[in-house]
Amino acid sequence: MRLDQRLIAEMIEPGTRVLDIGSGDGTLIDHLFRLRGCDARGIEIDMREVTRSVAHGLPVVHGDADHDLAHYPDGGFDYVVLQRTLQAVERPREVLRQMLRIGRHAIVSFPNFGHWQLRLMLLFSGRMPMTSVWHTPWYETPNIHPCTIRDFLTLCQEEGYCVQQWMAVDEDGERAPWRRSIRLANLFGEQALFLLGRKEDCEPEKPARRRK
């Protein structure tokens, strides 16, 4: 399991209902079922991955974030997870809305376009940056909506989401040390990981009750 998947798994309370959008080979939902007793299900766009997951006994549906989330009921899940995919969906804001409609919490990871290497490359070469994280040329990349950590935070504020936890993560998925300063995280974090709640979860008068 990738290290950032382990970080995601640690954010999820045992015994909860989880929907993993872009479940890939099903590693995370398998882990959540076996080790944390979760009712974890997946949506995956790549049919080979779907077949492989189902052949391993995992509940995975062929579908994608842009078109299939609208068909899930309100509050059907405790957590809805979107790993390294937000930048590739057609309508990121709508996808986030759907995630927090379906789930009480959304867990989102994405590659940070504000990383210093990208900034320098664009500054000095004047061309679209290419790194090990952003490794497809502009005319072929599926990443049509790149954003920085600060961009993402601004969107969360605009939409009124409650940021319950966030962290910068390096390329290998190891937790990066930039926890105090968003600006430093935005400069040095290769990826970001957010745990979001609905607006009401953050209202100071009503401290968020932990749900079993």
């Binding site: 079922f33 009712d39 299900r41 049919m47 779907v50 077949t51 997951s53 189902v54 052949a55 391993h56 006994g57 995992l58 509940p59 995975v60 549906v61 062929h62 579908g63 299939d68 068909h71 899930y72 009921p73 059907g76």
Partner: protein, 391 residues
């Protein structure tokens, strides 16, 4: 005249329920026979039973040589020791559907009068039955076998309709449902194809208003044409092209001019000869009135009908684990109808897996060699067993 002469298919292992069944149409049908076959061994806890539901023109002979045709069972590549539906592990049940012609009560059965004496055959007087009636007959058998809960219900095409009907009617009687190459309702196109088949039977002078047995015949031409037409819908254009292309038949007895003996309307192309063979083989094992009865049962199928067209409501709160399978080249029950079903299941917060198998073999793919499909069936059943804490 011996009224049982045409198409007497002999005796098939069955159970008779003298109490009969209240059909959805309001008719009380009694007694009813349910012909069935089982494979594997029922566990002590009776928790390893899988109901396999057959497609329209198949029958209960899933995994053994068919007593009538001498051909292998229709799913011998899926059901058996060590196969995806592993009979070393599971106890597999398959019934001939109500309205069928392989031993279960159907239009060919002899109807009883009030005294219980056999009077004559039902023929076209056989009451209209529905997919739910078929499933309720299967349910009676399951209870008779002392099974409290099925491990899974699995089936393709019309068998998939029965799977869905099981899940809606008896959600607490089963752990898992695997509807394959099917749809939660019969589409206008599906109904249209069925109607052409029925009209073809009606148009055969040997049909005699449905009482052909009185004349010692069967409406073979009409039934064969219905079968030929339906068979095209089970295949894809790619599969037909791959199998036959535009190839012309050769007359082996006339080596110098092999095509000379073919008249304008004989079966010149190989695909024609194939379809004619399919048609003529079919009429030897299938009853025309069953064809009419079962096509109508499919036409009426619409799971959302009882819920004002809201399909998710049919599955509300379902505890069943679903695995929906479709095939890319199936244009009779296309992936769009599977996706419609999956979205309704999602809306009902059901536990659902959905796989579309990439193949060019058309609707019949679920009967053919598709390794990805085999893996899906095996993996899904293992996953269900693991989640249920069985072995």
């Amino acid at each position: 005249m011996n009224s049982t002469a045409p198409l007497d298919v002999g005796d098939h292992p069955h159970i008779t329920f003298p109490q009969g069944l209240d059909l959805e149409c309001g008719v009380h049908l009694a007694p009813i026979d349910v012909a069935y076959r089982t494979y594997g061994t029922l566990s002590e806890k009776r928790d390893n039973a899988i109901m396999v539901c057959h497609a329209f023109t198949a029958d209960q002979y899933v995994a053994e040589t068919h007593p009538l045709t001498g051909k292998p069972g229709w799913w011998t590549r899926m059901v058996g020791p060590g196969l995806p539906i592993d009979t070393n592990r599971f106890f597999v049940i398959c019934t001939n559907v109500l309205g069928g012609c392989m031993g279960s009560t159907g239009p060919r059965s002899v109807r009883s009068d009030e005294k219980g004496d056999g009077v004559e055959r039902w023929g076209t007087d056989f009451p209209p039955i529905t997919i739910r009636d078929m499933v309720r007959a299967q349910y009676m058998l399951v209870r008779h076998l002392g099974i409290e809960r099925l491990f899974a219900v699995v089936g393709g095409s019309m068998g998939g309709m029965q799977v869905l009907e099981w899940a809606v009617t008896y959600p607490h009687m089963m752990l898992a449902a695997m509807p394959i190459a099917t749809s939660p309702f019969h589409s206008a196109q599906n109904i249209a194809f069925n109607e052409v088949g029925r009209q073809s039977i009606f148009a055969d002078p040997d049909w005699y208003g449905g009482r052909y047995w009185e004349h010692g015949v069967v409406p073979a031409r009409g039934l064969a044409v219905a079968r030929m037409m339906a068979h095209i819908t089970y295949l894809s254009e790619e599969a037909l092209t791959r199998k036959f292309g535009r190839r012309v038949r050769k007359d082996p007895s006339n080596a110098e001019a092999p095509e000379a003996s073919l008249s304008m309307f004989s079966d010149i192309f190989e695909v024609e000869s194939y379809l004619r063979y399919q048609g003529s083989a079919f009429v030897r094992r299938f009853d025309a009135n069953s064809y009419l009865t079962i096509t109508r049962a499919m036409d009426w199928f619409d799971l959302a009908a009882e819920h004002d067209g809201e399909l998710p409501a049919a599955f509300a709160g379902t505890p069943v684990r679903f695995c929906v399978v479709s095939f890319t080249s199936d244009w009779l029950f296309p992936t769009s109808s599977a996706r419609y079903l999956v979205r309704a299941l999602n809306q009902a917060a059901a536990n659902v897996s959905f796989v579309e198998i990439d193949t060019d073999k058309g609707h019949d793919s679920f009967l053919l060699d598709e390794p990805d499909f085999d893996r899906t069936v095996r993996g899904f059943l293992c996953g269900v067993a693991e989640h249920a804490g069985l072995r």
